[in-house]
Structures are given as structure tokens and as C-alpha cells.
Symmetry: C2
Subunit: 225 residues, 2 copies
């Protein structure tokens, strides 16, 4: 990883971006967190982001609103069903938000340029993923090049978790002292913020803890197959 300085981090409040935040904090980065409100069905994610930004002493934390009336996804449409109990976490599911990471990274680059800050971090992970095209290394590399070409400062894009498994991420977070009970992954939480345990995000999270041999502190509200 680069020598520390100012950086913008896309912080969702999920386990991956929280572990990355903890890691950047420990490496001495001055982290400006950016969280996007793009009509997620779950505000609990935004609250988790706010709490983690405080815990890991971010230099700033901004929540940017995105007009998502133009995007179609089960994640932003309250009338659509979130897929549950998929036997194989492969193939792009209905929760795919069109070009989401493209839009989020662009907002982060704009924020970085406004702060005269040359680095943007995103916690995408291509190993244990639902198959979203914008979580893979070729996308990150291509976007990084667009960012260097299209900004005055030649902003660099970093995705240090991209080749880690969820189990690796759980292990790293545990080592750094991340409180995973205060992170949120579920695509379809209940009114109290409890995780369903059965959507892709919950299934991948559970697999990560199981793989790492670490107890998952998440409160799941439904029986898990």
C-alpha cells in the first residue's frame, strides 16, 4: 500500500469497507469517508457507516444523495423481492444496481479532487461476490486509468481487498479490532435492522465467518437453511 496521506474512502457500513477503513486508519491514512444514499431499502446501513466513521476517526464523513429514480434494482425498489437462499451465488442477481460502482467511484473522485486529495479507496471484493461486473479487478484498473486521465490531480484508485476472500477479510478485521456486530450487510433487514440471514449478502457474510473459524456476532432474524 502507498505511503499514507489524504484519501477518500467509499464507506457503506458493511464489513468490507469497515475492515478497509480500520486498515487505512492503522496505516496512518487521513480518511475522508463518503457514503452514498441511493435509495437502499435499509437506512441501518447508513447508520452503521456513521458509527464506523466515528470509531475509526475519519477526518470527515459525508453522505451524498443520489437520484436513483433512473436506476432499476431490487435493492432500490421497495416492491421487488430480494432473492433468498440462492443455491449458487453466481450470475448477476436482481439486487444488481446498474453501474453502481462506476457512479460511486466517480462521486468519490469528485470529492477527492475537491479536497485536493490524490487517492480513492473502494472495498470491492471479486472472490466472494454475487458476480457483479463492477467488483472485478479489470474494472477497477480501467476506472483507475480513466480517473488519472480525467482529473487534474491524476487521482489514483485503490481496491486492496479485491483478491481477498471473505474469510481473509474477517480475519484481518478481527486482528485490527473491528466490531463486526456494528457493521451491516443484509439486503433485506427487518424494521429493527436485523439481518435476514438468507440474501446473497448474508450468505456470503456467514460463509466468511465460518471459513475464518470466527463466531459471527450478527443477529439473524430468520432461520437459515
Amino acid at each position: 500500500m502507498k505511503s499514507p496521506g489524504k484519501a477518500v474512502l467509499l464507506l457503506s457500513g458493511g464489513m468490507d469497507s469497515t475492515v478497509l477503513l480500520a486498515s487505512m486508519h492503522c496505516d496512518g491514512w487521513q480518511v475522508h469517508a463518503l457514503t452514498a444514499a441511493y435509495g437502499q431499502r435499509h437506512d441501518v446501513e447508513l447508520l452503521a457507516a456513521r458509527d464506523q466513521a466515528k470509531i475509526w476517526e475519519c477526518a470527515s464523513h459525508e453522505v451524498v444523495s443520489l437520484d436513483v429514480s433512473l436506476f432499476r434494482s431490487a435493492l432500490t425498489d421497495p416492491t421487488a423481492d430480494v432473492p433468498k437462499d440462492r443455491t449458487s451465488i453466481e450470475g448477476v442477481p436482481a439486487t444488481y444496481v446498474p453501474a453502481r460502482n462506476l457512479v460511486l467511484l466517480s462521486m468519490a473522485a469528485a470529492r477527492a479532487e475537491s479536497l485536493s486529495c490524490g487517492h480513492v479507496f473502494i472495498a470491492v471484493n471479486a472472490v466472494d461476490t454475487s458476480g457483479y461486473p463492477d467488483c472485478r479487478k479489470p474494472f477497477i484498473e480501467a476506472f483507475g486509468r480513466a480517473c488519472r486521465e480525467g482529473t487534474q490531480a491524476g487521482i489514483e484508485v485503490h481496491a486492496p481487498l479485491v483478491e481477498m476472500s471473505k474469510a481473509d477479510i474477517v480475519r484481518l478485521g478481527t486482528k485490527l479490532g473491528v466490531d463486526f456486530s456494528a457493521t451491516h450487510s443484509c439486503y433485506d433487514p427487518d424494521a429493527g435492522g436485523g439481518a435476514c440471514g438468507r440474501c446473497d449478502a448474508c450468505v456470503l457474510r456467514r460463509r466468511g465467518f465460518a471459513g475464518a473459524g470466527i463466531v459471527d456476532p450478527t443477529r439473524y432474524t430468520e432461520g437459515v437453511k
Copy 2:
């Protein structure tokens, strides 16, 4: 240019995007126009976009709001001065909006993916420009690659005006029947929407008409040096 189909066009209501719209219309594209409201000082630009979308029979026209509290620019800050009478239109001026085209193209890609549409068009122009890094061909090519990698449909990005001079654009628009009096370029219009004649956008526009030997129908409100 590619054989026609569905395409998303970033339409600002300025002369470049209007000429591109006219050209796409004449080539048989089904155009879905997208206009971003990112806190421009001039709503007259949004009204011009709306009018041109009607004139050139767009299949849809959406105005997307961007939260620009995070971006700093003389173009979106009502307290900042717009530079006037620059002797040389070189060097990035205060009107530069951080990572603007990166953000706009990402929104257009998201819109295209939602519409199951494989093409995005932007009317950037690298010849007669204020030196913005996100108007140049290397940026467009790098972004195009990120877009192909990061979207399910492998969306392609087109910038057919990128190597044309403003004079070429004026000539093309005139040939296609564009009503330039109903397009808007000025960064600092008066309350009635009149163009100042002295900001970079006005200077480049005036040069384009002069170079093409065509009368500029724009109503300028200030004496021009």
C-alpha cells in the same frame, strides 16, 4: 458512426450537445436524453435542453439532480466570480467542476443499463476547450474501457465531436437545421438568460461562429472586447 439503435445522450442545452443530438436524430438513433442539474448558476441551460429534446424528438428526457455540495467550482458557487476576458483560453479555469464528466458519464451509463441500451454519447470537444482534462480523447477512451468492463451490457461510449473545432460544429449544426438561438453556452447569464459574451464559453462560441463565417444569433448583453 455505429448503426442506429437506442442510445443515451448527455444533453446540456449548449451548442455542442444540441448539434450532436441533431446529428444522431438524422442518423436514426432512438435518443434518450439525460440532463444533469448540478447546481449550475443558470437554469436557462436546463430549459434549453428541454426545448431541444422536444425539437429533435427524443424518446425520453430525464433531468437528474446531483448533490454538488461536495464539489467546489465557480460554476456551482454563487459567491465565486466567473473568469472573464481571458486573453488565452488555456489552463484550467475556476469554472472547472471536479470530475464532472466522470460523474455525468457514469450516470449516463447507469441510465443506459436501466434502459437495456448499449451506447452512451457525450459531446465533449478537445479542440476549442478551456483545457478541462475530462474533455480529451484519452479520458474518453479510458472511460469507455471502464464502462465495457463494469457494466453487464458492456456499454460503449462515443464522443464523435471530440476532434472537431467549434467552427466545424457550427457548420454541421447549420447544415442540420439547428436553431442556435435556442441553445445556451454562457457560464454567467443575466436574470433574463442573456449571455455575457466574455466568459470562456461565450468566447469559444463566438470564435466558432466567426470561424465558420456564419452569423451568431446569440443575444449578448455586455460589450465584447
